[in-house]
């Protein structure tokens, strides 16, 4: 397949402005004749649905939760980046662009990242206008903090609940448009397939999760904003419902999947405590501003942490990366934690943890200041672990948090299926091989408020779409496939629960395709996953019927898709014979254990094409060229 990113020509600073001018417009009176489906109601989907409706399009928005306000963007804690330079510390659009390209280990598309940095400033303005209560200084102006991977303070925040407040801003805009009649909302409704007619995305098949009714919705364009696929690992910081079904169905209908192996493992999560564990809880990275990460120097040092003197502690991030210290990027901090644990110096009951210690910060700033900054996070930690982090250091360990990979999109955020746009975490995104902290909220809102509303108009103005109704043969056919699959899941009547398969897949993925990957392990996983998938379809037990609220059935469909996606992730990880960002191959590292990129061979986006059940997927490459940022070894020393 010929992958054309359709990146505009010209100097990088002018690309987006020029492109916006060149995009075809739909005149205001005609916009209301077009309909757009938005799947997902998080930062990307909610902002896109609201904005498209404000522009005059007829919008249908879908979410599987009982309200669009519950999308998992709500759980983002730390903040959102913007190149405002309000702190006068030398920030600029160029610096945010540079930091993001470098942070992504030079595996992102330069032009997209530059646009993201440009738009970042508008996002803050928009959110303030909506009443988002960002933290402020006594003079009434906006406050900022620093975040991992940056040496300037450019992160805007609302206590430890920034995602919540930004999402509620988008949600409120969405509710305003629902009230006006511009958006029809379908909550508790899950997309189960994409309708493609004459090569264009023309609708979705969705299941009403309360009645079980499977129904088709047609439109002139479809926007997927369904988030990431970290739950393929079973244990992750994602919400329990987060899933890959929408993007995976679209992939099987022809949308290429970009860089599926790029997974972000977040360094500051609460360690696993037992078999019953259903998810992992993130402790915001902002904690690393004041917390110091350490482990004992000696293996098996069983003294309580406050009795281990400084001389016997290894502040390994400060030691290894003196200029960034505890603020080293996520991939680096995570791998460093794994290394000290592998070395037998991990802390906590199972040795899989490191300390995040606030004693020095409390001494310096006082407990009140720390409570003001992180109070809700400390409470959350105490509730889960029963330990008081004001007195004893927190224990943290890396956990799957975000997936940089996703459906491949061009500069207009359109996938390889014309009319199918993919935004937010669901696309392969602007983060390359590693996302910097506070950049996910920025990207989701940039895509939804400020990019897709323009680019979709250009598509609609030029597409010459024929009218289709829900009685179209292709619609009926797709609906039939969905119904058949639902019934097939219920008909297995096996002996294992859906969760038991999901746990097994998750463990396999964590062991073989997690923080450190090897060719041997990945080859093994590529053998084991199809076997597990076969067993699933022969031995899964999904109780209940299709014509009711059936949470086991919902889960079963999602896990069936994870069982296919997991294999693709391993294939991608195996083919990428280099280490970059969140993808660390043990065979490719420097003598000091740092990631070793191979720009000669792998400076490209891997875009995988589905070739049918049982057939090997086909690899397509979009070469990445760096005209504005010099390719360099990423160093945070």
């Amino acid at each position: 397949m010929d992958l054309n990113s359709r990146t505009p020509s010209g100097p990088i600073q002018q690309k987006w402005d020029r492109h916006r001018f060149e995009l075809k417009l739909v005149n205001p009176a005609n916009k209301r004749k077009y309909s757009v489906i938005v799947v997902g109601s998080g930062l990307a989907g909610g902002s896109a649905a609201a904005t498209l409706s404000e522009l005059g399009y007829q919008v249908k928005c879908f979410c599987f939760q009982d309200s669009p306000r519950r999308a998992h963007s709500i759980a983002a804690q730390g903040g959102i980046n913007a190149a405002k330079n309000y702190q006068n510390d030398g920030d600029s659009i160029w610096r945010l662009f540079y930091d993001t390209v470098k942070g992504g280990d030079f595996r992102a598309r330069e032009a997209n990242v530059y646009r993201l940095a440009q738009i970042s400033v508008n996002i803050i303005d928009q959110c303030v206008a909506q009443g988002v209560p960002f933290a402020r200084e006594y003079g009434g102006l906006l406050a900022n903090r620093s975040f991992g991977g940056a040496q300037v303070s450019r992160t805007f925040y609302a206590r430890g609940q920034t995602g919540q407040q930004l999402l509620l801003g988008a949600y409120q805009a969405l509710e305003k448009e629902i009230a006006r009649g511009g958006v029809v909302m379908f909550a508790r409704t899950e997309m189960l397939d994409l309708i493609v007619i004459n090569g264009r995305a023309r609708g979705i098949v969705a299941r009403d999760m309360v009645t079980g009714k499977v129904q088709s919705h047609v439109a002139d364009a479809v926007v997927l904003a369904t988030g990431g696929y970290g739950n393929v690992f079973y244990l992750s910081t994602n919400a329990k419902g987060s899933n890959a079904t929408a993007i995976w169905r679209a992939h099987k209908r022809g949308a290429l999947f970009g860089n599926p192996c790029y997974t972000q493992i977040h360094p500051t999560c609460i360690p696993v405590s037992g078999e019953y564990q259903s998810k992992l809880t993130l402790m915001s990275e902002s904690l690393r501003n004041d917390g110091r990460v350490w482990v004992p120097k000696q293996r098996g040092d069983q003294r309580p942490p406050d009795q281990i003197p400084d001389a016997d502690r290894d502040y390994y991030l400060e030691r290894k990366y003196p200029s960034f210290g505890n603020l080293a990027p996520r991939d680096i901090a995570s791998r460093a934690a794994q290394e000290v644990c592998d070395d037998g110096r991990g802390v906590g009951p199972n040795g899989l943890g490191v300390f995040l210690d606030f004693a020095d910060a409390i001494k310096r700033l006082g407990e009140d200041r720390i409570r003001e900054r992180y109070g809700n996070l400390f409470e959350m930690y105490q509730r889960i672990t029963d330990e008081n982090p004001y007195r004893v250091p927190m224990r943290i360990f890396p956990a799957v948090h975000y997936t940089m990979g996703g459906l491949w999109v061009d500069y207009d955020l359109m996938s390889t299926i014309p009319g199918l746009f993919v935004i937010g975490e669901a696309n392969f995104s602007d983060h390359g091989a590693n996302r910097l902290g506070a950049s996910a909220l920025m990207q989701g809102l940039a895509d939804g408020y400020f990019i897709v509303p323009y680019t979709i108009g250009d598509y609609l103005a030029g597409a010459k779409l024929e009218k289709v109704g829900v009685d179209h043969a292709e619609v009926i056919g797709t609906e039939g496939i969905v119904n058949e699959r639902v019934l097939r899941l219920l008909a297995v009547h096996g002996r294992r629960t859906v969760d038991s398969f999901h746990r097994e897949l998750g463990k396999l993925m964590w062991d073989k395709c997690g923080m450190a990957r090897s060719a041997e392990g990945l080859r093994e996983a590529i053998q084991l996953i199809p076997a597990l998938r076969d067993e699933f379809w022969q031995n899964v037990n999904v109780p209940g019927s299709d014509a009711e609220l059936n949470q086991a059935l919902e889960k079963a469909g999602r896990v069936a898709d994870f069982l296919e996606l997991g294999e693709l992730m391993c294939r991608d990880a195996l083919h990428r014979e280099e280490s970059c960002g969140g993808h660390f191959r043990v065979e490719y590292q420097t003598d000091e254990g740092e990631a070793k990129r191979d720009d000669e061979r792998f400076a490209y986006v891997a875009a995988w094409e589905w070739r049918g059940d049982g057939a090997e997927p086909c690899l397509n490459r979009e070469p990445l060229t760096f005209e504005n940022v010099q390719l360099a070894t990423r160093s945070y020393k």
Binding site: R70, A75, P133, A158, Q164, A173, K176, D499, A552
Partner: protein
């Protein structure tokens, strides 16, 4: 630890419900309340029974999906804690735990412990927003806002929309939910132009949905996992009263329509 559970089972919105008893042996005190239910459900499925339906998603106390009446208390015994963040160490070995859905006229049961809270979305549609279309915003620092005002607004803005306030209220009132949004936006300069329309629209919608009135029991703020204060209800009442006095009847209809 070993527990005995009495759980409300109801197969659909129009079916009759009843309590069913389940044994839950071997539960880890470090498990969360929902993880305890996961374990029970896994065992039910293995025994060929239909698992218990309950809403949940983020499991870190912020999405507002989960919400159970635990021994008659919304979200259980810990203050400022959503059900998903309640841990079993809070209970004792041998305890009998009664688990029910939110009970309120405006929250009909869908199945087992799952209720329909879409009335909250409709209250928001009636004015819980600032009409600032994308693209029209001035610079973020153009309007300074006193830190104290933002902090107070944030206290109210933390509402997760779980519905515990309604479930805890003897009147089934949604005043804390509605008051929290009216307070959040009413304390900020951005919320001023629509302040009265908002109060009027949201309060009238709350009544139309079948929520009861507030008679200041104060149960809501005790049940609220974000510990939102009933002061927000005073603000709501003040804004509503002012709106009733200042907005002419012709425009009240418009406010109700958002």
């Amino acid at each position: 630890m070993n527990l005995k559970l009495r759980i409300w089972r109801q197969s659909g919105p129009h079916a009759a419900g009843r309590f069913v008893e389940y044994q839950a042996p071997g539960i880890s005190p470090d498990a969360s309340f929902l993880e305890m239910l996961d374990v029970v459900n896994e065992r039910l499925i293995e025994n060929g029974e239909v698992p218990i339906a309950f809403d949940h998603d983020c499991r870190e106390g912020i999405c507002g999906s989960c919400g159970l009446m635990i021994n008659g208390v919304a979200h259980g015994p810990d203050p400022g804690t959503a059900t998903c963040q309640l841990h079993m160490r809070r209970f004792k070995d041998g305890d009998i735990i009664t688990i029910e859905p939110w009970r309120a006229r405006a929250f009909p049961v869908i199945r087992d412990l799952v209720v329909d809270r879409s009335a909250f979305d409709r209250i928001m549609q009636a004015g819980g927003f600032v009409s600032a279309n994308t693209g029209s915003a001035p610079d973020g620092n153009a309007i300074p806002i006193p830190k104290d005002a933002v902090e107070q607004a944030m206290d109210a803005a933390q509402c997760i929309g779980c519905g515990a306030c309604v479930a805890a209220c003897p009147n089934g009132s949604a005043s804390l939910f509605t008051g929290a949004k009216i307070t959040h936006l009413g304390l900020l300069p951005q919320g001023q132009p629509e302040r009265e329309r908002r109060a009027l629209g949201m309060v009238l919608q709350m009544d139309a949905e079948g929520f009861g009135g507030c008679t200041l029991f104060g149960e809501c703020q005790d049940a609220c996992p974000k510990q939102i204060s009933i002061e927000t209800i005073s603000r709501m009442n003040r804004d509503f009263l002012r709106a009733m006095l200042t907005l002419r009847p012709a425009s009240t209809g418009a406010a109700g329509a958002g």
